[in-house]
Symmetry: C2
Subunit: 338 residues, 2 copies
DNA sequence: ATGAAAGCGCTAACAC
DNA sequence: GTGTTAGCGCTTTCAT
């Protein structure tokens, strides 16, 4: 391993001088600068960032902790985060919690141990509270990604879950639906609560049916609650449309509907939050409230780095990004009206 | 920041003793062990891995360098890598080169500076050679992900691009196609060369038309070579099927075909390498040679860690994972025969 | 079974 | 402009 001393020796200067050349700090005569640089290039010296971090107490690393790397929303978000981090000279350490508190805890420990400079955090749910508190105790800044956790104040970059849900409901009602079911994520997740709020608000506003039996709460990933779905479908007044609280739920719902011989949208309409990116590019089928996932990541990293570098106001910032209704084929007027 | 000395002081032992307790090394009386552990828990002490890395010359970090995080193949691969790394106590540092040598170089520099213990590397192309050489000079082990680079020997986990391509061609010919176009990635990428080899071999074996004019070479991502596609389609003997060398190309091709009023598969069949995961789950449309992406990541990390920990034989290992033909709707018999 | 000393590779603070 | 000293938080080596 070649160190700063090797350079210093060969260039006949002190380690400090080399350090200054590398970091463009302090005053150096251009003669020595060039001589040192030459040796650096010649030996292909690359500074050890561990040593650097140790003294600087900064790692130039950010952690991105998400809940489902399989979900295009997070993939695209990661892409945005990656781009922004790269642009500003930070690297991304990557974690996938699977909405599992245990895995999340492991990652938080790793984060603490690595001394990353900040975290982009999509918490598994409200019980992530203790993990967040750990970060706060160590003064590690973090930005909430879409989901927040009651009891913790921090910077937030989020979509407008409530408004997005209302828009979706309005659209369905406008098509003629009055019995709209909700297949939601866990109530432990803030966005699930907000989407449910929006769902109710939308129903109320439009005068559509409000019926607690039409709400199914499950997890945001790996939808497989067949009994739950059957319960929804077997209500005396069967719903004519389903609002899935995210894209993965929508896929699960549609698959199970098809398995039951129900066609979408002929027999039942389906809409959801979050787009499917690739799948939609390929076959524009699902009607969705699309969120600007890339911007979540990109702007989230900007916020985080601004905070780290002391460029943010001291109060926590909140940025809300609107979603966009993308009307496609999976929702039409209900059959009775056709 | 709370250090090992804080623990030592409070538990009335030396720093060494604390270190031993943390790392379960050396001999410690269970009395002191417990006392020390208690203080650690009480203060919530978490070791600084930078300091640790500095002395140990190990970071317990792996770098995953891929070319397109938007592509479900890599997403799923990342998922597998992540799982394996987590299981074996390593963390993943994440890089996305966009098939861009400049970005790739930046990441390699970062890798070198971070002193990661090893790299999972999907090279942008043959000109990644110098980057790989840098890694070799510093004795940083790496595993090739699917793509290899001539002139470099290292562990490899790859799909069988040649055989997969042959299988796809056989299938098309069996359906009755004789004029099959290839939309390929750049010739600078090993898998593109192998898929083209397989394409030719398949055509030769089946006696189908071999015509250099039916081959279009472009990039693996963001397909937008409209003129190239038009050239293919305007051949005197228009192809009845297109083999896209990966999923992203297939999506691009299909979009452009539709834009030209050509229906898939009615007017022209399309098959490709790599599945679309979500899109396919949702709407099983594309006929593909699917690769076990998750296994690429999972086994790749295993190989890498085995190598790092000296558990691999000294010669470079190669693991070839077969692909699987998934017959769906995007390819049917050509129109003439219907 | 426990501890003292030295050093991993770097930079901040201060001389000169 | 340049060099010296000290120390970031940890572990290795070798005493005791």
């Amino acid at each position: 391993m070649i160190t700063i001393y090797d350079i210093a020796k060969k260039a006949n200067v002190s380690a400090m001088t080399v350090s200054k050349v590398i970091n463009h700090t302090g005053r150096i005569s251009s003669a020595t600068r060039e001589r040192v640089q030459q040796v650096i290039d010649e030996l292909g010296y690359i500074p050890n960032s561990n040593a650097r971090s140790l003294v600087l107490q900064r790692t130039q690393m950010l952690s991105l902790l998400i809940t489902d790397i399989t979900n295009p929303f997070y993939t695209t978000l990661a892409r945005g985060a990656e781009d922004a981090a790269h642009l500003r000279g930070y690297r991304l350490l990557f974690g996938n919690s699977d909405e599992d508190y245990k895995k999340e805890k492991d990652y938080v420990d790793a984060i603490l141990s690595t001394r990353v400079d900040g975290v982009l955090f999509a918490p598994a749910g409200d019980r992530s509270l203790q993990h967040l508190k750990q970060l706060q105790e160590r003064h590690i800044p973090f930005v909430f990604l879409d989901r927040t956790v009651p009891g913790i104040t921090s910077d937030i970059i989020a979509g407008d879950s409530r408004e997005g849900a209302i828009a979706l409901i309005r659209y369905l009602v406008q098509l003629g639906h009055r019995r709209i079911a909700l297949v939601n994520g866990s109530s432990e997740v803030s966005t699930a609560r907000l989407r449910e709020e929006g769902y109710i608000a939308g129903l109320r506003e439009t005068g559509a049916d409000i019926n607690p039996e039409l709400v199914l709460r499950t997890g945001y990933r790996d939808f497989s609650d067949e009994e739950g779905l059957d319960r929804l479908l077997s209500q005396p007044d069967q719903p004519t449309a389903i609002f899935a609280a995210n894209n993965m739920l929508a896929i699960g719902v549609i698959r199970l509907l098809r398995k039951r011989g129900l066609r979408v949208p002929e027999d039942i309409s389906v809409v959801c939050f979050d787009d499917l990116d690739l799948a939609s590019a390929f076959d524009p089928f699902l009607t969705v409230a699309a969120q600007p996932a890339y911007e979540f990541g990109f702007q989230g990293v900007q916020m985080l780095i601004d905070r780290i570098e002391g460029k943010s106001p001291s109060e926590a910032q909140t940025v809300i990004l609107p979603s966009e209704l993308r009307i496609r084929a999976s929702a039409t007027a209900p059959r009775e009206q056709k």
